[in-house]
């Protein structure tokens, strides 16, 4: 029995300089439903959310809450109207207790003093509603990300919210934590709350939502009941083009006598990785599979000099190299896209041009500066080649969507024409269309003779792209399998059991 609409948005248009972020979008949310909002990065999901909670001002259109027009000027006003948002990054104070975090800014008072026992009692009550039996007086940082997320939600719902917006709440949770979150979401839905849910994980959409709305390039594609649309149709609607690209990807072709481009022998950093050996042939793509913390990233960082290998030897193109800093690695013609794109990859305040030219400049050395014109030509070339969506190369890299930022980092390294490219989770957090393009680019580079190490948590893309797969567990290599002949089950079994 569908409830009545609590939120109705009609003809919402928001313009930013140069782009229409939203163009005449309609959206409605019913009482007691979980409504997924879908679309690729840059489709306008965040903009729509920010329009509801007052961060962005709309240029035209109306928002009706319970039939009354609202025009919130910021998250605080939205909150008093009953619209609460939990953002992707938990915005809480790690040093305060769970209870303090829930009530910060609106502590219940008693005789002019903060009523601590009341705070703790109410916090416990809220958390037990979520089936979390925890000590609410402990600092927030003591608990897992999932509990922190629950705390943020508890804070959001305790202010008598009618609408709860969850922006990618599951991206840092493990499977059990996701289930816990879902049960909380269902509970809140059943109490009549309208929940807007954003995620990149298709399975989660089908597991928890009632309806979904799809956006593409700032336009509304449509709103559907969850059983109306299969996964394949959903993805096709999101991407707006055929999914054939993804399925047409071909593994790199490596002759068995291809020269070894990277060889690591018994390298270790003295603490996290003890003994790792690896070979990589010219034009080969080697996938690293394993759970988070299995040593994938640590190995990659050692190969690139981000952490120093205290023993063992590294050879690039047959020559022994001493790699103590990333600079040394770049001189040895290695390249590295780090896992944390925002912190370690892109420099948001610099323009696309300046970001792209960093590594080339480092290779060329101080005495060979590039003229502005050369830099612009270089940047424009890669913007066209990789299809980076930007008006020009002087736009700040931080203003691009995640997928486009990743392309800028790829361009940075392609421009430096490396022999060995190490990609740590290059497709995390970006949408399906951009993912397929990054995979295609990766394989194209292999075709041009670049050797690639590809780290990913998504086994299907590892299997789809890799010639060989190195399986890691407990900070050591446990097996190497052939990419063409292995299955997800094989890999999962090795990860679980620890031997081939």
């Amino acid at each position: 029995m569908p409830g009545k609409n609590i939120l109705e948005m009609r003809g919402i248009t928001i313009e930013f300089p140069g782009v229409k972020a939203l163009d005449g979008v309609d959206f409605s949310l019913r009482e007691g439903e979980i409504h997924s909002l879908l679309g690729e990065n840059g489709a306008g999901k965040s903009t729509l959310i920010k329009c509801i909670n007052g961060v962005n001002r709309k240029d035209s259109g109306t928002i009706l809450l319970d039939g009354h027009e609202i025009n919130p000027s910021g998250p605080n006003e939205a909150m008093t109207l009953g619209i609460s948002t939990v953002f992707q990054e938990v915005n809480l104070c790690p040093n305060l207790s769970v209870a303090e975090n829930i009530f910060v800014g609106r502590q219940p008072m008693k005789r002019g003093q903060i009523d601590w026992s009341e705070i703790n009692r109410r916090a416990e009550e809220l958390m037990s509603r979520f089936h979390l039996d925890i000590d609410v007086t402990r600092p927030l940082s003591y608990y897992s990300t999932a509990v922190q997320q629950m705390t943020a939600i508890a804070r959001a719902v305790d202010v008598q919210a009618k609408i709860l917006i969850l922006d990618e709440p599951t991206s840092s949770l493990d499977e059990n934590e996701v289930q816990l979150l879902f049960s909380v979401m269902r509970q809140l839905r059943d109490s009549g709350m309208g929940i807007i849910f954003i995620t990149h994980f298709l399975d989660q959409i089908y597991a928890v939502s009632d309806r979904m709305t799809i956006l593409r390039n700032g336009h509304l594609v449509g709103t559907y009941n969850i059983d109306e649309l299969g996964k394949f149709e959903l993805v096709t609607k999101m991407v707006g083009k055929d999914m054939d690209v993804i399925f047409s990807l071909k593994r790199a072709n490596v002759p068995p006598d291809a020269p070894v481009m990277l060889k690591a022998e018994h390298i270790g950093d003295g603490s996290r990785i003890d003994d790792m050996s690896l070979t990589l042939r010219k034009g080969e793509l080697v996938g690293f599979a394993g759970l988070l913390g299995s040593g994938r990233t640590e190995t990659a960082e050692m190969l690139f000099g981000a952490t120093r290998a205290v023993h063992g030897e590294i050879f690039v193109d047959g020559e022994k190299v001493s790699i103590r800093t990333p600079f040394d690695a770049i001189q040895a013609e290695e390249a590295f896209c780090p896992e944390d794109r925002k912190r370690d990859g892109i420099i948001g305040d610099l323009s696309i041009r300046e970001n792209i030219m960093l590594a080339v400049q480092s290779r060329k050395g101080f005495m060979h500066p590039m003229t502005k014109q050369e830099q612009t030509e270089l940047a424009d070339k890669y913007i066209a080649l990789l299809g980076i969506a930007t008006p020009d190369c002087e736009k700040k890299a931080g203003e691009l969507s995640g997928g486009n930022q990743q392309k800028v980092i790829l361009a940075r390294w392609m421009a430096a024409s490396p022999k060995v490219l190490i990609l740590d989770e290059p497709t995390r957090g970006i949408d399906i269309g951009a993912k397929a393009e990054i995979q295609r680019l990766m394989l194209e580079m292999c075709g041009e003779g670049v050797s690639v190490i590809f780290i990913s948590s998504e086994l299907d893309e590892i299997i789809r792209c890799s010639n060989r797969i190195v399986i890691m567990r407990d900070r050591a290599k446990v097996a190497e399998v052939d990419g063409a002949s292995c299955t997800q089950q094989d890999i999962l079994r090795i990860i679980a059991e620890g031997a081939a």
Binding site: A306, R343, I347, A359
Partner: protein, 317 residues
Amino acid sequence: MAGNDEVKQSVFESDTFKGLLPFIGLVVILGAMYWLTDGRIMQPKRLRLLLSQVYYPMIVATGVFFVMTLGSIDFTEGSTLGVASIVVSVLSFHSIPLAILGGILTGAAIGAVNGFFHVKFRLQSFIVTICTMYLFRGVCAYFTTETAIPASAAIKALDSDNLKIGITVAVLVVAWFLFRFTRIGNDVKAVGSGETAAKFSGVRTDRVKFLAFVAAGALTGLAAFVNVIKVGSITATAGNQLETQILISLVLGGLPITGGAKVRFSNIVVGTLMYTVLNNGLVMLGFESATQQLIKGIVFLIFVALTIDRKALKVIK
């Protein structure tokens, strides 16, 4: 459409306005002082006096500019200037070129100490430089408490506007060229806006940071030479409060305190001029020093509140 957007996001928040604000501020302060002093501030004699106070702060500010672009801070300029001035004065009895070299090397050495502790021990730059500020202020006081240290007559004879202008302009041009057209500028901006990302892209971040402090020290050492030919003898208070003057000048000039990609080379020139005009104007108007400080404080507060980039606020390295 862009115009529309600026109106919406309030004029004060737009980047264009913030970029122009230092220039507007300079014109406003200059205009106000012209009006308040009935034009006396523009008399040739006054202008010369005013300019004579611009040279060495501007040279020092050029070095600090690089440090602050990294998102770091340097509090040692005053004490470095003091110590380097002593070296310059003592050596000036032997040979002038030696005195210049000695001053620069002394400054560079102090900068190297700062850079070493900042980089090797991963100490925040403002902690390091506050400590070394006391240290070298102590060194300066040790040599000058009994009597002032005189400089040779030969070095005092060099005192001419042409020389001082020449040195200042040369420093600015070279630094501008390095900042604008070589990799140095890109590297410091990259470190200031995203250190790890810069490191992973092959920027040798530790070296860049170390060299920025050495450069700031060396330029302060050169400024010490310009200072000595002007004042002739060095007392315990040489360069006192210079660090805050430089810091506030650069901020007045529009330099974001967090450094990074938004710095402009013009920040140095505009800021130093603005500070000096304000300072001189207040003296000419006959305020006593307590009142002067009060007015300066108010002007700085207003200005910083108008210009600071709140989105970029983070901890200073």
